[in-house]
Subunit: 201 residues, 4 copies
Amino acid sequence: MSTARLEAFSDGVIAVAITLLVLNLPIPSGPSVRLAHELASHWSQFAAYVVSFVTIGIVWINHHSMIARLARGNHRILMLNLLLLMTIGLIPFSTGVLATYLGHSGSRPADQHIAALVYAGAMLLMALAFSLLNWNILMRSPDLVDPPLSETERRRIFLRAASGIVPYVVAVALAPFSAVATLVISAAVAAFYALPVASGR
Amino acid sequence: MSTARLEAFSDGVIAVAITLLVLNLPIPSGPSVRLAHELASHWSQFAAYVVSFVTIGIVWINHHSMIARLARGNHRILMLNLLLLMTIGLIPFSTGVLATYLGHSGSRPADQHIAALVYAGAMLLMALAFSLLNWNILMRSPDLVDPPLSETERRRIFLRAASGIVPYVVAVALAPFSAVATLVISAAVAAFYALPVASGR
Amino acid sequence: MSTARLEAFSDGVIAVAITLLVLNLPIPSGPSVRLAHELASHWSQFAAYVVSFVTIGIVWINHHSMIARLARGNHRILMLNLLLLMTIGLIPFSTGVLATYLGHSGSRPADQHIAALVYAGAMLLMALAFSLLNWNILMRSPDLVDPPLSETERRRIFLRAASGIVPYVVAVALAPFSAVATLVISAAVAAFYALPVASGR
Amino acid sequence: MSTARLEAFSDGVIAVAITLLVLNLPIPSGPSVRLAHELASHWSQFAAYVVSFVTIGIVWINHHSMIARLARGNHRILMLNLLLLMTIGLIPFSTGVLATYLGHSGSRPADQHIAALVYAGAMLLMALAFSLLNWNILMRSPDLVDPPLSETERRRIFLRAASGIVPYVVAVALAPFSAVATLVISAAVAAFYALPVASGR
């Protein structure tokens, strides 16, 4: 399979997932609502929207770089790409869970921590699926890499991308202690990749 | 009509349908909710999400292979492709029905079986629409197949793909007896096509 | 503007709109629900899903034929295409309105007729927007038509496509008398264009 | 990164966002509803749908013109494009907020003004993100502009596009006084760009 349609389908799924994030933003309603107060109390929904949007956007950019190195697809790569898309498709759900519990003053602390675990866990799954696909392209199918790269170079590219797993492991580990810390770490990862310092990639 | 735009539109519909599956995952809310318990009790929603996502993903891959053999479209092929897309568009609905009833401890057994019938029935419809389109391309419009294939070869490809109908007939037949069996069969079909053993396609 | 990106964006909007139709299909829930009875009582939702899906699908096919005659876009064509997409975007809403009232035994007859008016009205708007764009391409911008066509030929193509307006005028006129008649007429239009008899287009 | 995939992904996000607007249109339900009255009382939802649809559509057209001048992307342009897409993704939310409060006779005037502020604020954010990206292409990365343009010409194009910020500043400033004025200004901006007078762009 040519990579063009693989990219087109992946673009479609990622574009839908990133735009579905907005459905998590609650539109307050009811006659007794005080809109300004309601919107302010949902700060966590907006923060989670921004963090998840930028994160998926960066995954899209990195996905493009990954596939651009690929001459053509095979069955294993197609299935691992599907696995990656499945984890991306979960982000609107995990974002909704975190935003619902983090911003809700009445939610139990235990629930906030579980919501943070769901959020960080989904991010970690996405990072793992990305690295699994990347490893299969760079380390298991070097003949599909075009132009050809030395093993040292391929290993270097893979490890650099795979290092993105580390902060999400930390975020998962911190979830039982602080839901805010989980969101802050996810935001920091997104900011790191978004800022010019990382533009060498 | 060139097949490029046919593919682009099909990719779009399939990408939206596969991503809409996530809308079925329930975000528990309310002050008295216990999030961990709620999420655990929705195991069927997550299982159905994974099975349906992989199934639609495999249909997308097979759709690509099918259209790649086609030199150009005609009116009948366009309409049968639309029929296939319509059945794919139903999967988020049938997935939601199964997940709602399979995972709900309070739902009546009879309803669980009907939900399984809806799920397996939608999968069967999709498999039938796929084979109908494939039959029209391979067996009724051999002049549109490029590069040309012998009738034996075309029949072989068609029958191999059409054999995917069989397990869904079984799943439909088992639905009145066990909703879980229906989901397990659907999962097994997805796993069979996803695993390397089937990578010869 | 080249027509390639015009087509790509239109494909995207139409693919999303056609797939959003499924969100109108209700997933019954609640402990006292009898699923088989509930699904059967929603026959109108499924009928409306099929009719609207096929109708949007045919509009997509005809949109492709229309744009394929266009060498390049200009501002007026872009805006009229946007108007057409806006009317297509309304179909999931109008389908939801008709399905909700047509299938609900408790809804007042007057409401059923208004729901039918909304449905047929949206279809008519879409047909009018299509013809307005087609008229601008064929009759007002003949220099953008590639390959060039005689005025007689262009007029013939335009009138043939514009004749699709007539049944929707009839459907709108019948809405105050019978909601079912409106859906039947819409279904007949879809079937007419879908069946081989119209494959000359 | 080539601009082709940048455009394809942007097209996808914009197409989903523009089509999600329809989810804000409420389908009245319930046995005691009077459909005609309900639909009429939701005039603001339909007005907001049209204004937001045309606005996003015009942003899409202008986005195409902007990217068409770009030879290739770099990290900063990718991230600023993502920022623009994030603001576009907010429009269905801000449209829903305005429509809910503007059309609801029981909503407090203070809430209507805040809803208008949300709506105009989201439009302003989108216009600012557009201009920031445009400025980075035209004024900071002139070597990426293809074919090359003189600084005078680049400045002229940028300022012309950036002038679209002004009416949204006015709309934000008027929001605390009149929610209707905010919608009218947004509609006027959309109409100005949609009408032939602006077709010189």
